[in-house]
């Protein structure tokens, strides 16, 4: 099933590259990790990768750091977690150290400003692609609850500016109650 065996060097280089070249923070980095580790390398099943992203978003701290720790730990234990977090943290250390040295020149360059501005369109396209794939997966389950939670969570965060913590708590609780009710009804089916 796996195309290659998980190796520390590939893990390090993959997260390093994603962290070094991905603009827009954790919400953009994490989908790229999914693409790299579940689709390209096939080291983790897509469902399991989504679980890690969900846990990474629900825990405190930077989402990309959390997800890279979970991923590294799942693949190669504590050693994997440390290598993975190192790969994620090194690029910001290097890039921001250089940027803070040339801060004034960097801020006033018309070229840099135009480049960064235009790159936002590319970032938006990357996120649109990811959301397309992920939302498609939620719709394909053909269950009302996940779709309702997705739409409600989006409206809560986007339109009503509800805090992310509250949204995650409410959705986790709804999923828990759903599983509990279904277990009480005696169905042996696993929660979707």
């Amino acid at each position: 099933m796996r195309e290659t065996r998980p190796g520390l060097l590939t893990l390090f280089l993959s997260v390093f590259k994603i962290s070094a070249f991905t603009f827009g923070g954790g919400y953009v980095i994490v989908p790229l990790m999914r693409r790299r580790f579940s689709e390209e390398l096939k080291w983790v099943a897509p469902e399991e990768m989504m679980d890690m992203i969900a846990i990474g978003q629900s825990a405190p701290g930077p989402i990309a750091v959390n997800t890279s720790i979970l991923l590294g730990y799942r693949l190669m234990g504590l050693k994997g977690a440390l290598v993975s977090v190192l790969g994620t943290a090194l690029p910001p250390l290097i890039v921001l150290t250089v940027v803070s040295m040339f801060y004034d020149a960097f801020r006033e360059s018309a070229w840099v400003a135009a480049l960064l501005n235009a790159m936002r369109a590319g970032v938006a396209a990357v996120i649109a692609d990811v959301v397309w794939t992920l939302a498609g997966g939620v719709f394909r389950k053909r269950r009302a609850l996940p779709v309702a939670l997705m739409v409600a969570a989006f409206l809560a965060v986007w339109a009503f500016k509800v805090s992310v913590v509250l949204v995650l708590l409410a959705c986790g609780l709804a999923g828990f109650l759903d599983a509990w009710l279904r277990a009480r009804r005696g169905g042996k089916e696993g929660a979707a």
Partner: protein, 188 residues
């Protein structure tokens, strides 16, 4: 407490209490570096936010490195980053063990089944904010303010990703290079 120890403790708190990723961390960072400690002025902090968002990598780590550098040079950057990561390492490794032990339990699967669609919604909301900023700039949504070059880059980029499975990093840089060249050449 020495300066480096203080930096570590400040960013440890940021890492510990920032639920919802880097953007949620920014108010906590402001409190630590502008209000509690006299490390940055409010003007420098708003520059920090811009820089952390427009450089690659996790926003919270970008901010930690920038502040650490300003306060105590490269050792400061290392210490602030380490402080920001340490709570994650402890909490997330505990969660990873729970996940390994409980992943087959129906109740835990239920919680995850609720969190997964929320995760998609959060990514979509973050993406929509970036889309609007890319298409309309800071001026708000209006047809007159629509940036046609960015819209074309977005459409072509999305096509490249969906149809040809192009590399995301390549798409981002191609949009940046083409968009910037067109805008500077025609003075848009």
């Amino acid at each position: 407490m020495s300066l480096l120890a203080t930096l570590f403790v400040s960013f440890f708190q940021v890492g510990l209490f920032a639920f919802g990723g880097g953007l949620a961390a920014l108010p906590l960072i402001r409190e630590q570096v502008v209000v509690i400690h006299p490390w940055l002025t409010m003007g420098a902090f708003s520059d920090l936010v811009t820089i952390a968002e427009m450089t690659p990598g996790p926003i919270a780590l970008n901010a930690a490195t920038f502040v650490g550098n300003r306060v105590a040079g490269v050792p400061g950057a290392l210490v602030a980053t380490l402080g920001c990561i340490t709570p994650s390492l402890i909490i997330v490794l505990l969660l990873a063990r729970l996940y390994a032990a409980w992943r087959d339990k129906a109740a835990f699967q239920g919680v995850l089944a609720g969190l997964r669609p929320a995760t998609v919604a959060l990514i979509a909301a973050a993406g929509l904010s970036i889309f609007i900023l890319a298409m309309f700039g800071e001026g708000g949504v209006s047809l007159a303010g629509l940036d046609w070059v960015s819209l074309a880059c977005f459409a072509l980029g999305l096509m490249a990703l969906r149809i040809w499975k192009a590399s995301p990093i390549l798409v981002i840089f191609a949009c940046g290079a083409v968009g910037a060249a067109v805008k500077l050449a025609f003075g848009i």
